[in-house]
């Protein structure tokens, strides 16, 4: 009855080939926690599913000698959690990936899938943006790199070209005194889509913030890199005035909608509240590591 074809290639080249060949009828399958829901609800009716989990580059995590990480796009939240050092270096990215859905979902869901699904509320994305992740994609015309914040194009859309598959995330080596955090506002304690999500990455030296990045999710058609918020934090000692300025920058950056998950007014206010809390956690972690 169905015309669906399921493919599970063992190499990236095969995957790109099959994916590109099938054009708009194809979908990539990593954890499936978005794809299968969309298929069941009838929103998507793919003709070809390309399962990338047999490709080693997609499912491995490597730490380079310089301390940087390369995370395969299909690595599940649980696998990331079980890695011996990743969570110590990037606690914010780890907690963000592991806030997606339930423990069952985290057994499968991946940062790659979360990013490519294009939801403005995807939990892992603000943390990846704050981390300054660089993604590698491979397509019919070869490999290229993008800043993670340049991948989302709008609700449900990315800037990946036809036939391109997200391969991995590269996270840079961490200077001493660095850490990150992710917080989201949800009405319950778990299992909700983020009403607002904030990722903050900081480097602190002698009490002063020397580097900062702020990612803000669920308040605009794409996740935002809020440079004004980072500017307000850099050079400060995370005093109340600096935090207030950064919070205001987050609220100002909001272009949210009213929907069944939150109102414009609520999201705008919460963005500022969360910025302060997230920055405080990142700072505590950064200075504890010193």
């Amino acid at each position: 009855m169905t015309e669906l074809r399921y493919l599970a290639p063992g190499t990236l080249d095969e995957a790109v080939g099959a994916f590109a060949k099938a054009g708009s009828a194809a979908r990539i399958l990593a954890g499936g926690t978005d794809l299968l829901v969309q298929m069941r609800s009838g929103v998507l009716k793919p003709g070809v599913i390309v399962d990338i989990k047999k490709i080693p580059e997609m499912t491995t995590i490597e730490q380079a000698a310089d301390g940087g990480f390369r995370i395969g796009a299909a690595v599940s939240g649980m696998a990331l959690h079980d890695h011996k050092t990743f969570g110590k270096v990037w606690p914010g990215v780890l907690e963000a990936v592991n806030l997606i859905g339930s423990k069952q979902v985290q057994g499968r869901a991946s940062a790659g899938g979360n990013l490519c699904n294009g939801s403005p509320a995807g939990d892992s994305v603000p943390a990846m943006v704050a981390a300054g992740a660089i993604v590698t994609v491979q397509g019919p015309n070869g490999r290229r790199e993008l800043k993670v914040e340049d991948v989302p194009a709008g609700p449900g859309r990315t800037n990946l070209k036809p036939g391109e598959i997200l391969v991995s995330f590269a996270l840079p080596p961490r200077p001493a005194g660095s850490s990150d955090a992710y917080l989201r506002m949800i009405p319950r304690t778990e299992m909700d889509i983020a009403v607002v999500g904030v990722g903050v990455s900081l480097t602190i030296k002698d009490g002063t913030v020397t580097a900062a990045r702020v990612g803000l999710g669920a308040v605009a058609p794409t996740v935002l890199l809020v440079e004004d918020a980072a500017k307000a934090l850099i050079g400060s000692k995370l005093d109340d005035a600096a935090l207030a300025k950064a919070a205001a920058a987050c609220s100002a950056a909001c272009r949210p909608i009213d929907d069944k998950r939150g109102t414009i007014a609520y999201r705008t206010k919460v963005a500022g509240v969360l910025l302060k809390r997230t920055a405080a956690i990142a700072a505590k972690r950064a200075t504890q590591k010193n």
Partner: protein, 158 residues
């Protein structure tokens, strides 16, 4: 369109079945495999009633294609007891009235088992957050959490 033939291992036994490419693992379990212990509450990964393990990792069987099970190890509620010997969690759930209608129970037990394997000494908070993906509408979760913690304590003592 022809069905796909899948060979997998379920509860330690090699098994084969036929399915459509877009069937979920839950469809396959409840259909051709006749293992109806895993339940469908939502088909969207929000209730956990379909929880199984895939290579010892806790997942929702409704969020996995049946064809993906090829070459992997699946465990379901039907494999939790050993013959007529119940798993300590199953026994404790019975003793502590940690179930009423029972529709969430298969998933709760699979999820609780997965937790105790990773974390033999969980706090109440850890248990609650681990089980957040398993909805129960009958019990208010109180007796379930107590049963999991009591089982953990007993298993540690052994």
């Amino acid at each position: 369109m022809a069905k796909v033939h899948v060979t997998t291992t379920i509860n330690g036994e090699p098994m084969e079945f036929l399915c459509e490419p877009n069937d979920t693992m839950l469809d396959a379990l409840r259909g051709p495999l006749a293992l109806t212990g895993s339940k469908e509450g939502c088909a969207s990964g929000d209730c956990g009633a379909c929880s199984i393990t895939l290579d010892d990792r806790l997942v929702c069987s409704c969020l996995m294609l049946a064809v993906e099970s090829e070459g992997h190890e699946i465990r379901t509620i039907e494999g939790m007891a050993q013959g007529d010997k119940l798993h300590p969690l199953q026994q404790k759930f019975l003793e502590m009235a940690a179930l009423q209608c029972g529709i969430c129970t298969s998933g709760m037990l699979m999820a609780s088992d997965a937790l105790l394997k990773r974390s033999p000494d969980p706090t109440e908070e850890e248990v609650r957050f681990w089980l957040a993906g398993n909805l129960c509408r009958c019990t208010g979760y109180d007796k379930i959490v107590r049963a999991v913690m009591d089982t953990a304590a007993e298993m540690r003592a052994q």
